[in-house]
C-alpha cells in the first residue's frame, strides 16, 4: 500500500496555500507533481508551505521545479514558504535558493515574491 503525501490546502488572504508535511520522496513525489500541475492548470497562484517537511529528495524538488516553470510561463505566482533547514540544504546544493521565491511566513501572502 503506497503511502500518501501529507498535504492540506487552504485559501489564505486570496492566495492558494498548500501545506506539505512528512517525507517528500520518490514514493510520493508523483502525487506532489500531479497536485501542483493541477493547480497551475487551474490558473491558481501557489504558495507552498514546507514547514512540516522533514525530508525532501531530488524527485520532490523536481516536482517543484516543473510546477514553478509552468506557473511562470502562465504568468502565475509561485513561492515557497517556511522552508525548514533540511529542505533548504537541498535547495542550496541545487542552487534553487536563488531561483525560487522563498518567504519566511505565509501570513504575508506573496509579499514581495
Amino acid at each position: 500500500m503506497a503511502r500518501d503525501l501529507e498535504m492540506q490546502s487552504e485559501r489564505h488572504g486570496g492566495v492558494d496555500v498548500l501545506h506539505l508535511a512528512g517525507e517528500v520522496d520518490l514514493e510520493v513525489s508523483s502525487q506532489l507533481r500531479r497536485t501542483l500541475l493541477e493547480r497551475v492548470e487551474g490558473k491558481r497562484d501557489l504558495l507552498i508551505d514546507l514547514n512540516g517537511v522533514s525530508y525532501i529528495d531530488s524527485s520532490g524538488v523536481a516536482s517543484l521545479i516543473e510546477a514553478f516553470q509552468r506557473a511562470r510561463k502562465d504568468g502565475l505566482r509561485f513561492a515557497l514558504a517556511r522552508v525548514p533547514e533540511g529542505a533548504m540544504r537541498v535547495l542550496k546544493i541545487a542552487q534553487l535558493d536563488r531561483i525560487f521565491p522563498i518567504l519566511p511566513d505565509i501570513d504575508i501572502g506573496f509579499g514581495e515574491a
Partner: protein
C-alpha cells in the same frame, strides 16, 4: 547463503567495524527504511548531525538511481546496502545485480540549466568525500562506494 561470519566480517584493522548490511527490493516504498538505517548507522559511527543528514540523502538518491536506471523499475531487483567504519571514514556500499552501468552515462545537469531532473548526483557528491564504482565481484552488477570522513 553462506554463514554470516565471512559476509559481515570485521575489517582488517582494529578501528574497522562492520555496522550493518541491509537487503531490500528496489522499490520506492523501501526508501524510508533505507533512510532510517543509514541515519542510525551513521549516528552509531559518531557522525555529526550534518554528516548524517548528508549521507541519508546521498544513499537515498543513489538508491533512486538503482531503482530507476539500473533495474528500470523492476520490483524484483535487489539492493544491498553495507555500512562500515574504515579508520576515520564511514564507508557505504550500494550493490545491485543489474546490468553493469557505464559510469560515463551518469550525467548530472549543469546547475545553471533549470530543469526538473539531474539533481541526485549533485546531492550524492555534496555529501561524500569520494564516490566511485568498484569492480563488481561475486555476481554483483554494480558496486557504488561512498566514503565520508567521520566528523
Amino acid at each position: 547463503m553462506t554463514g554470516g561470519r565471512d559476509v559481515v566480517r570485521s575489517g582488517d584493522s582494529e578501528s574497522d567495524e562492520m555496522v550493518c548490511e541491509l537487503r531490500v527490493h528496489a522499490l520506492p516504498a523501501r526508501l524510508r527504511l533505507i533512510r532510517r538505517v543509514v541515519g542510525e548507522a551513521a549516528r552509531e559511527l559518531d557522525c555529526s548531525p550534518g554528516v548524517v543528514e548528508g549521507l541519508v540523502s546521498a544513499v537515498d538518491e543513489a538508491c533512486q538511481n538503482i531503482i530507476r536506471y539500473a533495474y528500470k523499475g523492476d520490483p524484483k531487483g535487489v539492493i544491498l546496502l553495507r555500512i562500515e567504519r574504515a579508520g576515520d571514514n564511514a564507508v557505504i556500499r550500494l550493490i545491485d545485480y543489474a546490468e553493469p552501468v557505464d559510469p560515463a552515462g551518469i550525467q548530472p545537469r549543469p546547475l545553471d540549466e533549470l530543469r526538473p531532473g539531474g539533481l541526485g548526483t549533485h546531492l550524492i557528491q555534496a555529501a561524500a568525500d569520494s564516490v566511485e564504482f568498484e569492480p563488481p565481484t561475486q555476481g554483483a552488477g554494480n558496486i557504488l562506494k561512498l566514503v565520508k570522513r567521520i566528523e
